[in-house]
């Protein structure tokens, strides 16, 4: 699913225009705990979060994630916006709760990143 389609489903707005809005995602991971994102999120997945600091952008970059949705009407801090633009990571701003955001995207066919049990990892 293209990020631009996710924008429509969530009635979200893009923080800035980029060709990367056409990037495809198949999986999503929603969390306000970046350590959990680092543990479980797959490459080229979508990050859904309500945290706004610069480390959100860094976390997504380390994992090669495709885009970020900020929920609950949160707007990333200025330094986070600057970094996201520099790295060309598409950012969507969404007024819905994390629960509703996830529900809508799950219904539309996005898949969850698997939670690997620690013994099997």
């Amino acid at each position: 699913m293209k990020i631009s389609k996710i924008e429509k489903i969530l009635q979200a707005s893009r923080l800035f225009d980029t060709a990367a809005m056409d990037s495809e995602v198949e999986y999503a991971f929603a969390s306000d705990l970046m350590s959990d994102v680092l543990a479980f999120a797959l490459a080229t997945s979508l990050l859904i979060t309500g945290l706004t600091n610069i480390q959100i952008i860094r976390t997504a970059t380390m994992l090669d994630m495709t885009g970020i949705v900020f929920v609950r009407n949160k707007r990333p801090l200025e330094e986070a916006i600057v970094l996201a633009k520099k790295l060309d990571i598409p950012i969507l701003l969404c007024q819905k709760s994390m629960f509703e955001t996830c529900g809508l995207l799950y219904q539309a066919g996005l898949k969850p990143c698997p939670i690997l049990h620690k013994e099997s990892s």
């Binding site: 970046m34 380390m62 620690k118």
Partner: protein, 144 residues
């Protein structure tokens, strides 16, 4: 690649704006060497988590990246308070991070377990008052 490539960067204490810059730079270096994306990604997670530990707990320190033909080695050294109970610190969910760190989305007690998960070998030399030395090795021809 006969001589190993070595890159060393200083990590400043409690600088949350700059935290992650080392990991970004190391990852860029690995990508520019043409290493497989999955290796770059695993190394980036290891460096980023170790860097956050130095920023949060270590009082600043030094990180080193060493790339050889068959492996990537990541070293993190600080002269901070050291880890009192390493076995406990390796457990998922155990954290000694203060609240303001947790509010930033870190300090969930996943840092060292995440490093272990992504490295093939992990060595930690630490003692209270002695600082912490961490060395993680990722082999290019092995999975996780």
């Amino acid at each position: 690649m006969s001589e190993p490539l070595v890159l060393e960067l200083e990590v400043k204490p409690l600088d949350f704006l700059a935290a992650g810059e080392t990991a970004t730079q190391f990852k860029e270096t690995l990508k520019s060497l043409g290493l497989p994306p999955e290796i770059c990604r695993r190394a980036a997670i290891v460096v980023y988590e170790a860097e956050m530990n130095i920023v949060i707990h270590g009082g600043g320190g030094v990180m080193r990246l060493q790339v050889e033909e068959d492996k990537v080695t990541i070293m993190a050294e600080d002269e901070g308070p050291g880890i009192e109970d390493l076995e406990l610190a390796m457990q998922e969910g155990y954290s000694s991070a203060p609240d303001f760190i947790r509010e930033m989305g870190f300090g969930a007690g996943m840092g060292l377990p995440n490093i272990k998960r992504n490295a093939n070998e992990l060595y930690i030399d630490t003692a209270p008052g002695k600082g912490t030395k961490l060395r993680a090795v990722i082999y290019l021809n092995k999975g996780r």
